[in-house]
């Protein structure tokens, strides 16, 4: 919806390169995420999407290139410093605080919103208790936001898989991101969970949070993204609206291989997405 008013870049990735030993995982990757948009980042398995996330959020050091958020360079920052700038990511492999209740998971996520220092806490200042009450209310709101309100007291590790994935997003949202990086948030969710997650994505957008979304479920990516960037073998091969991407011959080739190119081009664009998904998961 606000697609036309989005112009300003929030995140810029410029000539990013990441090596793992002799392996070139990302090769001169350049793209940007504009403030307020949902940008889909797609590509076959092993294309380097997760690696790009790791480089942006400070988990690995890129070999070269620039990454900046709102004009400030992220070079050399540790993950928590990146989070302090409002850039928060989730993990491809499910990652919650397993031994804590869903509610406490979100409380932990609220770390960045709290201002009381260790000394205030040790001396038990009234402001600490006030902030704590406020945070408990906020934690309830965040849990309700993703629809996990009724599961507040369940241990993170005891939640069904799909709900753990929701909890991850809740924890990330609790950290009050202005840019949220989601790494395959619906992988492992069943179709109805995926459908409701797409609604949550809509709500997240309404909060004014910019989203960079990595996802194999093409229906989902094409449904929620304003723009899509395609990564293959470490390089960006296409950048455009979902409609353009679905027709792009390079993308079709990357996903389906040369042999299927003709066949695929004849089919409707929506079907391409479905095949891409099948292949990615198989």
């Amino acid at each position: 919806m606000p697609a036309k008013t989005i112009q300003q870049e929030a995140l810029t990735v410029d000539s990013l390169e990441v090596h793992f030993g002799g392996l070139l995982a990302i090769n001169s990757m350049t793209f940007d995420v504009r403030a307020g948009e949902v940008l889909g980042l797609i590509g076959p398995n092993g294309a380097g999407k997760t690696t790009a996330f790791n480089a942006i959020t400070g988990y690995i050091r890129p070999s070269s290139g620039h990454i900046a958020y709102r004009g400030a360079s992220l070079a050399g920052l540790s993950p928590n410093e990146v989070a302090d700038l409002g850039v928060v990511r989730t993990f491809q492999k499910t990652s919650v605080f397993g031994g804590q209740s869903a509610f406490d998971n979100v409380l932990m996520g609220l770390h960045r919103r709290q201002t009381r220092k260790a000394l205030h806490i040790i001396f038990g200042l009234p402001s600490v208790a006030a902030e704590e009450r406020e945070m408990r209310d906020t934690a309830r709101e965040v849990l309700d936001f993703v629809g996990l309100g009724p599961r507040a007291d369940e241990l993170g590790s005891a939640l069904p898989y799909g709900e753990q994935r929701l909890l991850e997003v809740a924890v990330a949202l609790a950290a009050r991101p202005s840019l949220l990086l989601l790494d395959e948030p619906v992988s492992g969710m069943n179709p109805s969970e995926t459908a409701s997650f797409m609604q949550i994505m809509g709500e997240i957008r309404k909060l004014g949070i910019t989203v960079l979304l990595v996802e194999h479920d093409m229906k989902m990516v094409m449904g929620v993204s304003d723009r899509v960037v395609v990564l293959n073998n470490g390089s960006i091969i296409a950048d455009g609206s979902p409609g353009e991407i679905q027709k792009n011959p390079d993308v079709i080739r990357a996903y389906l291989g040369e042999r299927y190119k003709k066949k695929a081009q004849m089919r409707s664009t929506a079907r391409v997405g479905a095949k891409g998904k099948k292949r990615a998961q198989g």
Binding site: T57, Y59, S78, P79, N80, A83, D84, V88, R89, T90, F91, S95, V96, F97, G98, G99, Q100, D104, L107, M108, G109, L110, H111, R112, Q114, R116, A118, I121, I122, G124, V128, E131, E132, M135, D153, E154, L155, A158, V171, A172, A174, A175
Partner: protein
């Protein structure tokens, strides 16, 4: 209600010297209380941040020696012609110095080892304890080495010219230990139920996730080490001015092991765990002493610990709470939330 219960427990504990009627028992309670403080401080690190400080006794010993030396005064012959003379200072001041110096050592250890965690922290903390022990043994000018520092003053509180209270007797020492136990317990509880404690638990449970939401790993690990070391130092200071003698044996590895046993059997990462573990392993040796030789005592110790760790791997306190919750939730839990019992496992 809860607050009322807590105050009652503390008042009951405070009343013990009035009716116990046996100074030897009171002595056991005092030393047990000192060990409980040390165990609580270890739990802050081991239980909440997950870092094992196998040299924890170093902080205890630094608190002891510092407090003893500052209260006794000392002179150091620095050159032929110059001797540095440190005048004796009041005990309360010496005690504070002990806490501060222990906390500073904690900060130091934290800074160097938390860049590389886990096994490195264990190694650095053990080595540190050994170095401090060797210093206390060999820097005879300062510490008297194996001859020990003697005639350490007991605690004294004074309003100059008006009033003075010296803790020669066991009762005031007991209350002092109890008071410090309560203070440490309250501080740790405030901490772990706050943003700071949650950050520590988050690091223990899932470090990559914790950092992704903005938790500064090093900062909270160092904070935990400083507080933990300071509390251990306070326990050491109390100990020194109570037994009034300190020698290098205070750094023996066995004391660290005892603290670890207390924390692990009681339940690491729980508030009550070190208290329960400390009570058991503080009082048990004295009970056993009556009818078992030291070797047999150690065997009983070992068997008991193996049994506890085998049957209650998380420790006594978590086992009891889980049993209690299951019992409380029993009838209605099965109706309203089908999966609830699974959550306890």
């Amino acid at each position: 209600m809860n607050r009322f219960l807590e105050v009652s427990v503390v008042l009951f504990l405070a009343s013990i010297p009035f009716w116990l009627g046996n100074l030897y028992y009171l002595h056991i309670l005092i030393t047990t209380g000192i060990f409980i403080i040390a165990a609580m401080s270890l739990n802050l690190l081991l239980g909440y941040t997950g870092q094992l400080s196998l040299g924890h006794v170093a902080f205890f010993g630094i608190g002891s020696y510092t407090s003893a030396l500052v209260s006794l005064g000392f002179d150091l012959e620095l050159t032929e012609s110059y001797t540095f003379v440190f005048e004796p200072k009041p005990v309360w001041f010496a005690f504070l110095c002990g806490i501060v110096l222990a906390a500073i050592s904690g900060w130091l250890i934290g800074r160097i080892s938390f860049k590389v965690r886990g096994a490195y922290f264990v190694i650095v903390s053990i080595s540190f304890a050994e170095v401090v022990r060797l210093v206390s043994l060999n820097w005879i000018d300062l510490t008297e080495g194996p001859m020990a520092l003697n005639n350490i003053q007991p605690f004294t509180f004074a309003i100059p010219g008006l009033w003075e209270l010296t803790f020669f007797k066991k009762e005031p020492n007991y209350w002092l230990v109890l008071g410090l136990c309560v203070v440490c317990f309250v501080i740790i509880r405030r901490l772990v139920q706050s943003r700071a404690g949650r950050a520590m638990i988050a690091l223990r449970e899932n470090e990559p996730l914790a950092t992704s939401i903005g938790v500064d790993v090093t900062k909270y690990l160092v904070l935990a080490t400083i507080l933990s070391a300071g509390m251990a130092g306070a326990a050491g200071g109390l100990y020194t001015h109570y037994v009034r003698i300190v020698d290098p044996d205070i750094f023996l590895f066995i004391y660290t092991v005892t603290m670890v046993i207390m924390v692990v059997t009681g339940g690491k990462g729980t508030l009550a765990g070190p208290v329960v573990g400390g009570l058991i392993f503080g009082i048990l040796p004295e009970v056993l002493r009556a009818f078992a030789s030291p070797e047999v005592q150690w065997i009983i110790y070992g068997i008991l610990m193996i049994l506890i760790v085998y049957f209650l791997p998380e420790g006594i306190v978590p086992a009891v709470t889980q049993w209690w919750q299951r019992r409380a939730r029993g009838p209605e839990g099965s109706m309203s939330q089908g999966s609830a019992p699974g959550a306890a496992s």
